[in-house]
Amino acid sequence: MNRNITLFLLLSLSFNRLLAQQDSVQKTVQQRQLFFTDSVSSALFNFSKNSPLLIKELIPERISRISIGQQLEKGKLVNAQGSTKTNLSYLSSDGSINLSGLKLYGAFYYHKVFEDSTRFAHQSRNNTSTPYYYGSPTNNHYERSIYNFNTLATKDFLSNKISAGVGFDYHIADHFSNNDPRGSLKEYQLDSKISLGYNFTENIKIGGGLNIGYGKEEVNIGYKNRAYYESTAYPRYVNYLINGYGEPDPKLTNRNYTNGFSRLGYNGTVKILNTNLGSFYFNINQVEEKQVYDYRTSSGIYDLSKYNLTKLNLDILWTKKLSKGTISSVVNFVNWDGADFNTRFLAKNYVYTKNEINLKIDYAKPAKKHLYNYTFSLNNFSEDRLDGITGNKINYNNITFNGNFGFLSRLSNYRSISINFGTHYILPLKDNFFVNNVTEKLFTQEVIIYDYLYNTTQRFGGSITADYSFPFFKFMQASVKLNMVYTDKVGMKTLDRNVTSLPGKDRFSSNISLNLYF
């Protein structure tokens, strides 16, 4: 009997311990899920990806998530070279871990994109400032398979006086259209960051290093119907070479090129932590990117164009715990300066400038079983394109206001539900429009003028996001997230010239995802 009692007690104890352990696991994984529902935590998490020297403080010791989702975007309120209907399936995963002082962050994503009607852009979607690419007036059905791998790692040495960090981003993608003209673009990009930091004190740290990268794009335009490339008699199927920001030339033969990228720049980080005013993080990333376009045959390599693009990003994060919540503010300044070297005229023909200032304030206020998220952001965006051959000069500057309110409620058994409402308003501030009407043809009408009208259009919209989270297989937390965004055209400029193509009325996007946290 005693033996039985002892056995029962042991079993009970083990079971209770097991239950307690299980309880602890579920609590931990729920906290990991809740980390991403907190707007301030998310802001800090996203900010940390700017430099390996930031992940130590801003990313939890251990967190992992996997997402699988489907996104649909639809509507003609989109830039001229965008797609009027996009179906995106994705699988993404990221996480962090601390291995004996080595802090690691890794991410992977795979995107499979189906674009219904892409025009004048046999391009990837990540080099849109370039002056040199192919494009066709017809609606192309594009399929894109995109893989991204990102890693950041940091470790302190010499009694934590020195921090070393590295980061690698590898991007590989395959884009092709399955109707004439059949664009095919294969690309890869590899970027690395190497940083060294000096920690003056526990709370004041400074670092800097190099950004080095390279990549390649191989572009080819094929046809099933020979008649479409044997002449310009079928204008909608003509493959054009866009080389600047004016009317392009038909490119019927030798329809391929290679674009080689090389990047070199610097990065810098300053951290001032735990002051009475909160914690401050400053980060700067600068890269000089050189793109060399060439045509390769067995007899040699012929330069087609060169494009230099300087990218500067300055990010400032301030965060502070307040009496009832946590606040964070991110200020982000982006400047891109691009200029080409036109090998036909042996001179600089195209100048591109982008300036962006973002201010985002997040306030997360936890209550007993609730969490309230307040977000306000401002984005001032301006873009200039200058084409010397035609004298085209287009500039626009607009501001986007964004406000979000979110509410999360913790339910029993580690479940939670959250809902988030947002609104956005895009207000054009000023612009400059000169398009040489001497040269005006299809590209000018359907891309340059269209984009000017799109970018100077007032837009207003709203969004709603709902997220239901629950334990999953006892060692994971799952959430099902649904998000919908609607944007409506409020007002558009009129132009005193022939306009053949106008942006549509609205744009809708929806996203559903299953997310696992562990």
Partner: protein, 440 residues
């Protein structure tokens, strides 16, 4: 905290240092054009204010057109640098022309000038001068050229090619001894030749070329030359009627038996033409050293006299890189003994190198410059404005059944008069399916 402020200071300096030059090295230019008549020694002055100048960007196809002022000047402002075809054109009515020049004429006189493939460079500040010349118009014109051939799988390839000549006058003309030639010029490729600034052959550098002639402006050079037979008045052609010279005067829509005994059929007869009604054909079967194509059937249709040839039949370049002249020599010259010269190679040509026949343009009745259908395949013009101020081409390119055809100008008492301003860009259109004796 001090370090932080140093950092901000450093950052500010960096931002300032990063300021880029945001101007381009290229700006649109003001293109100044001046036209004048090439009649300096004539003693009279023709009006300039109706001259129309047209500039066409070869690559983008954008066109601007306007009249010059009474000094013959015009400025096209904000013109992008690039390659342009520049054309000037004016037609002076017969009464006005007769009054000004005291040269009696019953037809309007058209003057043309052109500067094709003209590079307008970045920062161009000069002026382009164009000399208006009166085109030679004759009673005979080249009416239709079917050089492109038809589909190489479903059609008749190039064996259905033909050329058509038209009596554009109001009197009966005789086709006897009428000659036509396939005119050669520099196409592209390794530059092993002496070339003019225009990019065409510099014929004056051909071996043996006399020094006392203007080899580039007073002559054209053939790679194939044909003559219509006849005794002088054997082949009368009525006003408004034409003669068709076929590579093979057979109905290409229907099966026929080739010289090798095999039956030749086309998969899609709608792509080709019936040339059984042609007036003449070419036959290479009796030429020395030629292994004729199996399609080169010697039909009942009379053969033209083949004076110069290449290949295995009268095959026109389906890409449109060669041009055509129609001419008739006078009694002082024998076509068969016209001088022959090598291409103007930089190196001394081999004794066996191909020779071209030198044709004096004074004998040319009509000339049509053909070019490839796409801008990036364009080649330097072979003809001066005195022969053809423009050029023409079939828009779909080779093997698409299209022909170039001279436009109808007007119909007078039931007789169709074809347009002839000596500028084939203006005078010619195209047919989607070549049509011997058709009109457009």
């Amino acid at each position: 905290m001090k370090q932080f402020f140093y950092f901000l200071l450093l950052f500010g300096i960096t931002l300032t240092a990063c300021k880029k030059d945001k101007t381009t090295d290229i700006q649109p230019v003001d293109l100044s054009i001046k036209v004048l008549y090439d009649i300096q020694t004539s003693g009279y002055t023709l009006p300039l204010n109706n001259v129309v100048v047209k500039i066409t960007n070869v690559n983008t196809g954008s066109v601007q057109s306007t009249k010059v002022n009474d000094k013959g000047e015009i400025i096209f402002t904000n013109t992008p640098a690039g390659i342009y075809d520049i054309d000037a054109n004016v037609t002076i009515d017969a009464a006005n022309y007769s009054q000004i020049t005291s040269i009696q004429t019953t037809s309007p006189v058209t003057f043309n000038a052109s500067s094709k493939n003209t590079q307008i460079t970045v920062g161009f500040t000069g002026s382009i001068n164009l000399k208006l010349v009166a085109g030679k118009t004759a009673d005979w014109v080249i009416k239709q050229i079917y050089y492109a051939g038809s589909d190489n799988k479903n059609g008749a390839l190039y064996r259905d090619q033909f050329i058509e000549f038209y009596n554009n006058s109001d009197k009966v003309l005789y086709a006897d001894s009428l000659c036509f030639a396939d005119i050669t010029g520099f196409l592209s490729g390794p530059n092993n030749y002496n070339l003019l600034p225009s990019g065409q052959y510099d014929w004056s550098k051909s071996v043996g070329m006399p020094l006392n002639i203007d080899a580039n402006n007073d002559y054209v050079y053939s790679r194939a030359l044909f003559m219509i037979p006849g005794t002088g008045k054997q082949y009368p052609i009525q006003p408004g009627a034409s003669i068709v010279v076929a590579q093979n005067a057979i109905n290409h829509k229907a099966p026929f038996t080739g010289v090798d005994g095999k039956v030749v059929t086309v998969i899609d007869p709608s792509l080709t033409v019936d040339l059984s009604g042609a007036n003449f054909e070419t036959y290479y079967g009796n030429l020395p050293g030629v292994n004729p194509l199996s399609s080169d059937v010697d039909t009942q249709i009379p053969n033209v006299e083949v004076i110069q040839y290449f290949g295995r039949d009268m095959i026109f370049d389906t890409n449109g890189r060669y041009s055509f002249v129609l001419f008739k020599v006078d009694g002082t010259v024998n076509v068969k003994t016209l001088p022959q010269y090598n291409l103007p190679t930089k190196a001394t040509p081999a004794a066996t190198a191909t020779k071209t026949i030198q044709i004096p343009i004074k004998f040319v009745l009509d000339a049509v410059e053909i070019q490839p259908n796409t801008a990036d395949e364009r080649i330097a013009k072979k003809f001066t404005p005195a022969l053809d101020a423009g050029f023409t081409f079939v828009p779909l390119g080779g093997y698409k059944s299209q022909s170039v055809i001279r436009k109808t100008d007007k119909t007078l008492n039931g007789r169709i008069i074809l347009k002839d301003t000596n500028n084939s860009t203006e005078d010619f259109d195209y047919l989607n399916i070549a049509n011997p004796r058709g009109f457009k």
